[in-house]
Symmetry: C2
Subunit: 207 residues, 2 copies
């Protein structure tokens, strides 16, 4: 269990320094990948971690399409910006992350104490799409960190023709792509020089 101590004074454990480095402070976006395969079991485990992190009303609108190397990968990269094609072809694993525009159909199963929320979303298309977009994007953040947690390098890319990918892989219009993530072990010269982060004074305020 995460909590320790008595019921009224719980303290949670924190990650050790090495874990913080793996996830945040030393992790890098990989631009080349080694030939070392990534197994279906590893790709499944990434989702098995990410799915536990929170979404509003437990809506979980993120969907994950893993594309194997070969024909599927060729179909993907023709919709990607030219600078992203070679690395996406060479990555042992690729995930297309998408939002389910009809996530609310699962609400009776995932929010059993309030099944009627399904009908609220059914009647309000703007609210439904905003909820799908916001929560699927939150989950994409969890997914990227879950890749790293499993000892793999993530290469998230927004440079693609989303309508093209959706027509290619999600005909019918229910699922809409939001991010493509290359997954693998780093190859030769995998990282660029690290880009600067904003200063605290630019980001963090107090009131």
């Amino acid at each position: 269990m995460t909590q320790t101590g008595s019921n009224d004074n719980r303290r949670l454990d924190r990650l050790d320094q090495r874990a913080l480095e793996i996830l945040f402070t030393e992790a890098r976006t990989a631009n080349t990948f080694a030939d070392t395969p990534v197994t279906d079991a590893e790709l499944t485990e990434i989702w098995e971690l990410a799915r536990w992190a929170p979404t509003s009303a437990n809506t979980q609108p993120l969907r994950v399409l893993y594309l194997r190397q070969g024909d599927s990968r060729e179909r993907l990269v023709k919709h990607m910006n030219e600078g992203n094609r070679a690395k996406t072809l060479s990555a042992p694993g690729v995930a297309v992350l998408a939002r389910d525009t009809r996530f609310h159909e699962h609400i009776p199963a995932v929010l059993p104490y309030k099944p009627q929320l399904k009908d609220v979303f059914d009647a309000d298309d703007t609210k439904r799409q905003d909820t799908a977009t916001f929560n699927a994007t939150l989950q994409a953040g969890y997914f990227i960190l879950a890749v790293r947690a499993r000892g793999l390098a993530a290469g998230p890319m927004g440079g693609f023709d989303a309508a093209g990918i959706d027509a290619e892989f999600f005909p019918g219009g229910r699922f809409r792509s939001i991010l493509v993530v290359n997954i693998g072990h780093p190859g030769k010269d995998p990282w660029y020089a690290r880009l600067p982060r904003l200063d605290h004074a630019d980001v963090v305020r107090w009131a």
Copy 2:
């Protein structure tokens, strides 16, 4: 360094089981908080972790406003849904996460090899707002996991009047609130029964 082995065959470390539990599989959204304070240093450290995770073109549009207990907190909760007020008043730390609608002003500093991207965003309001919304939301996902990484419980909440919070804390219109996160050590009976997650077959596909 995260990578080990030779330059051409890097392997990354993975998190141990305890770390995976802290972040994902045993972590819970807290609904009550202990009196134990959360220091300004701890709140700063959360941002110092989250800021290293990736955003497209290194845009980093997330902004964080930490609200102390007392007057600021009272000003916040009047814009929150009634069910979220008591826990937000009692949480030792509260972060209002917002997107910077003019994040592109920082591009020459954060993307020094392509400063002209600032002008692209300046000329295209839709592209700028889409980029701000998507990347700030990704960063909100990183932020929630960074809270957990630091041994604290996160209580993210979407139930608030965003326009009201913006008028209260972000007059001028540059910053737009996207999520409120309570932060602290769990209090008495802090968790509800865990809600179910979708099955793999509902979420993960292969092609």
